[in-house]
């Protein structure tokens, strides 16, 4: 069964290192997202798995078969790796009809005509594009083109599907719809999906595991909720989640055995680790990360701040509050409206707050934050 394994994969373009010693095991039937800002090497990684790009160093196994090895000089051609690839711009052949586009791969496999017909019909129905069979790609909308591209990729029934930002060219509404469809597709086809995106929401909602990259380096590789709750560093914490995590930049000192006292203008906080004790040096520069949903407004004995801005969107409201030098973002359920600059109290709930080292960006601990009166 298809498992994809990358051992020490490095890709250099001249002096530029696109991917740096990447080790990754993608399990059978997984839906793995390669996530990161543009230029982080995620598309390059995907193309290397497909065989469209040649790694500078390392080894790649697909389904237990060594498809690339820089040492052994093995480089299996893309067409022999049994993968499907969905391109960001769909790469539909403009001179072929929808039917011809989908049938092309089957023709190459020398399927008999009637079987091709049956398979294409099945896919047209599955992706709800039956009426467009005889049209050319230029006569289709973006969403329809997208479906044709998916049908073309699925036609040959690849067990590994590589998807390069397939939703980024769609409008917001269509994107949400296609997300749901992709997730179903993953279940129905029972194949391994590797999915490149820079949209953290897509990664969170779709995948069984997120592989977060930055400047060619792997940052974290875990299930979405684990990445969300326990980011390995400040970059990951910041990249995942919307609205983004709040960072309170302070300097920390050990107090009362295992607690940490952190002070910043307008706030005095006490951080209690739940992940084990922690020793800081004196006035260690740290940042406390608090997800917006863990910031409570209007409770007694909170920090005093002022409303900076209120952004209601119906189901929820994003509230920005100025506390001293720090601006905090909170998410409140339902539609709430605060007058600008009105005073409000802020407190921190739960024990999923995070402590980061400001010098290295590493996560030091997770725990709860109390306010020192």
């Amino acid at each position: 069964m298809p498992q994809i394994q990358l051992n020490n994969i490095t890709k250099r373009f001249g002096k530029f290192v696109a991917v740096d010693k990447l080790n990754l095991v993608i399990g059978d039937g997984d839906f793995v997202t390669l996530l990161g800002p543009s230029g982080c090497g995620k598309t390059t990684t995907l193309r290397m798995i497909a065989g469209l790009e040649t790694p500078t160093e390392g080894e790649i196994y697909i389904d237990g078969r060594l498809v690339f090895s820089s040492e052994k000089g093995i480089d299996i051609a893309p067409d022999k790796r049994d993968v499907g690839f969905l391109f960001q711009n769909y790469a539909l052949w403009p001179h072929m009809t929808v039917y011809q586009n989908i049938a092309f791969g089957l023709e190459n496999l020398k399927w008999p005509k009637d079987k091709i017909r049956a398979r294409v019909s099945e896919l047209l129905a599955m992706l709800k594009i039956v009426p467009f069979e005889k049209r050319y790609p230029s006569e289709l909308s973006g969403g329809q083109q997208q479906r044709v591209a998916i049908a073309r990729t699925l036609a040959t029934g690849p067990k590994v599907l590589l998807l390069d930002e397939p939703l980024s060219n769609l409008d917001a509404k269509l994107r949400t719809e296609m997300r749901a469809e992709l997730k179903r597709l993953h279940m129905e086809t029972d194949s391994t999906f590797v999915y490149v995106t820079h949209d953290q929401l897509e990664a969170m909602t779709l995948s069984t595991a997120i592989c977060l990259m930055k400047e060619g380096l792997l940052q974290q590789y875990e299930a979405p909720m684990k990445v969300y709750a326990g980011p390995s560093n400040a970059f990951v914490a910041d990249f995942v989640g919307s609205p983004t995590i709040n960072f309170v930049e302070t300097s920390g000192n050990n107090v009362n055995l295992d607690e940490i006292k952190a002070e910043a203008p307008g706030m005095r906080l006490l951080f209690t680790p739940v992940s084990g004790s922690l020793t800081l040096r004196r006035d260690h520069p740290v940042a406390i990360g608090v997800r917006p949903e863990n910031i409570r407004l209007g409770e007694p004995e909170g920090l005093s701040g002022r409303i900076y801005s209120t952004l209601p969107s119906g189901m929820e409201t994003i509230v920005k509050i100025q506390v001293g030098d720090t601006q905090l973002t909170s998410v409140v359920f339902g539609s709430v409206d605060y007058p600008l600059d009105s005073p409000i109290t802020v407190s921190f709930a739960g024990d999923a707050c995070l402590l980061f080292d400001r010098e290295t960006g590493e996560k030091l601990a997770s725990g709860s934050v109390r306010i020192i009166p």
Partner: protein, 597 residues
């Protein structure tokens, strides 16, 4: 009132004013000649008094049409056979140009061939050089004793006498025209291949298509529109080519329409010639219409964008070196060797004798001796040559200034007024001169402006006539460049200037032109180069006082003064190549930007 307001709104936009102006002027300079040409096929010309019995000059007659189309054996010799030859030559040369140019384009853009840079630069040379350059080189190499002169280098070196079919006529004409126009195909097809989204090939590769299948099913269909327009351009260019069949066909009486045109217009029956010109225009227009119909039917093909990665470069593996070497040899043979033969031929005293003692600088710097060419001095001491060279340069510069400017404005106005009937009318008018065979075009202008018309005085024998005919003839190049330049520029760029209240002339000079400088300047470069090497257009209009260098070359060649002709040819090629390179280096303008990809 509403009409008045609408009119006001219409003339407020500069591009409308340009369009209206161009529509009027171009209609006068292209449609009017066309009508006058058609009229000329029905009237008796002074030299035809003897053949059309009982007619006076300017009488209407169907004589020419009858003779050209319905006079059995004589029509066949006069018209049908040359027409058939023309069609064949144009067809063969189009195929050669597309196969060769397309192959080189694919190798340069899509394979790991060696010497890419050199090949891509030098492969364009045959197009920059005058078309007869290769024809003369062919003669220098392969001529035999048929014409009474000495055999060429090939026979001198190998002792093998070349057969007539190989040395003259259909075969070399097709090859030479094909080679001359293959850069066209290279530029057009290469442009598409370069911009083609590599993902399209990768998608096919992942779906297990073989290299050959990708080429046949993906690459070829996508470049098909480019191939078709190359075919259109090469076919109509070959059809109206005069110099090459004149050089290579004359010794064996191989006639095509243009050579017949020259004979009849220069001879006693211009009426026949005008009919042939009409036939050529009809064929050219038909091809253009077919092309537009075809491209229009499956549009949105050529607009292929996307991030191109060089990952889909095809590894030629064991063929890499052989293919590269063969192509290099071909490029050298086609682009550089001809120049060497000109040099050699211009330095030998008695043609056909390539021994060391036969070499002389007589034809370059000699005083002129009674027994050689009637005392004509060597080219570098020849005042006629300097006069002709000066005329050529002057003409080319003025023509390129006019054509480039008008073409740039036309491009601007056509793109801004896109979708309106007026714009497409002007677009077609500006392209129409391309379809008019140069020589016929020259002939019409000769008859049109021989006497004063409207406000224009008689221009016969004047330099102004040459400027006029050159400007109109090369306008298509310039307007194409202008349209290309404007299409690449988003309208918002100019609108941002409009909002700030910047007047139109300033928007043109300070915003639009600087951004697309290279493309616009290419619209000046192409007319310049074309004009420097033009023969057919001017050959009927030239008087001794305003002889240009190409007609001088033609005269020497007709007289059989081979060494002078070769020397002058070398000069022309050198000047054109130097100008092209210098302008390209300084401004970034280039032929391929003008042809448009």
């Amino acid at each position: 009132m509403r009409t008045v307001n609408r009119l006001k709104a219409f003339i407020k936009k500069p591009h409308n004013i340009i369009l209206v102006g161009l529509a009027v002027i171009l209609a006068y300079l292209t449609l009017f000649p066309l009508f006058s040409l058609i009229r000329d096929t029905f009237i008796v010309h002074p030299s035809e008094i003897m053949s059309v019995k009982g007619a006076a000059v300017n009488d209407y007659t169907l004589f020419h049409w009858r003779k050209v189309f319905l006079d059995g054996e004589r029509s066949a010799k006069l018209f049908y056979l040359p027409l058939w030859n023309t069609v064949q030559v144009s067809l063969y040369s189009s195929v050669i140009a597309i196969v060769l140019g397309g192959a080189v384009a694919w190798l340069v853009t899509r394979s790991n061939m060696r010497f890419k840079k050199f090949v891509s630069v030098v492969f364009i040379f045959p197009y920059i050089m005058p078309s007869w350059t290769l024809a003369m080189a062919w003669l220098n190499f392969f001529r035999n004793r048929l014409v009474g002169g000495a055999p060429g280098l090939f026979t001198a070196l190998t002792g093998i006498a070349t057969p007539n079919w190989f040395a003259y006529g259909m075969f070399p004409t097709s090859i030479v025209l094909g080679l001359h126009y293959s850069p066209f195909a290279y530029i057009l097809i290469g442009g598409i291949l370069r911009n083609m989204d590599a993902n399209l090939e990768e998608a096919a590769m992942i779906l297990k298509a073989s290299r050959a299948k990708i080429l046949a099913r993906i690459n070829l269909p996508i470049v098909m529109p480019a191939i078709l327009s190359t075919f259109l351009l090469v076919f109509s260019s070959s059809m109206s080519a005069f110099a090459v069949p004149a050089f290579l066909g004359t010794p064996v009486r191989f006639q095509v329409l243009t050579t017949q045109l020259y004979r009849t217009l220069n001879g006693l029956n211009p009426g026949y010639g005008y009919i042939m010109a009409v036939v050529m225009i009809v064929i050219g227009t038909a091809i253009l219409a077919a092309n537009q119909w075809f491209v229009g039917k499956r549009k949105s093909f050529t607009t292929i964008t996307g991030k191109s990665s060089n990952s889909s470069i095809v590894n030629l593996r064991k063929f890499r070196t052989p293919v590269s070497v063969v192509l290099l040899a071909l490029v050298v043979a086609v682009a550089i060797l001809p120049l060497a033969t000109f040099a050699i031929e211009s330095f030998i005293m008695a043609p056909g004798d390539y021994s060391a003692k036969n070499f002389t600088a007589q034809f370059w710097i000699g005083e002129g001796a009674e027994d050689i060419g009637g005392g004509e001095p060597g080219v570098l001491r020849n005042k006629y040559l300097y006069l002709a060279l000066w005329n050529s340069l002057k003409l080319s510069v003025i023509v390129s200034l006019f054509a480039g400017t008008v073409g740039g404005l036309a491009g601007y106005a056509i793109v801004r007024g896109r979708g309106t009937k007026l714009a497409s009318f002007v677009n077609n008018l500006a392209f129409f001169p391309y379809l008019l065979p140069s020589m016929a075009f020259g002939a019409i202008y000769l008859s049109m402006f021989a006497k004063p018309t409207l406000i224009i005085p008689s221009l016969y024998g004047s330099f102004a006539l040459l400027v006029l005919v050159g400007t109109v003839k090369y306008l298509p190049f310039a307007s194409r460049s202008g349209i290309n330049a404007m299409l690449q520029l988003s309208g918002e760029i100019e609108e941002a200037g409009v909002i700030l209240g910047i007047p139109w002339h300033k928007r043109m000079a300070r915003i639009i032109f600087p951004i697309q400088k290279a493309s616009f300047l290419s619209g000046y470069l192409l007319p310049f180069i074309s004009c420097m090497r033009e023969l057919a257009l001017f050959v009927l209009l030239i008087t001794p006082a305003n002889r240009v260098i190409t007609t001088l070359l033609f005269q020497y060649n007709e007289k059989g003064w081979n060494q002078w002709a070769n020397a002058i040819n070398l000069l022309i090629v050198a000047i054109v190549l130097i100008f092209n390179t210098v302008i390209n280096k300084i401004t970034g303008a280039s032929i391929d930007k003008g042809i448009g990809t």
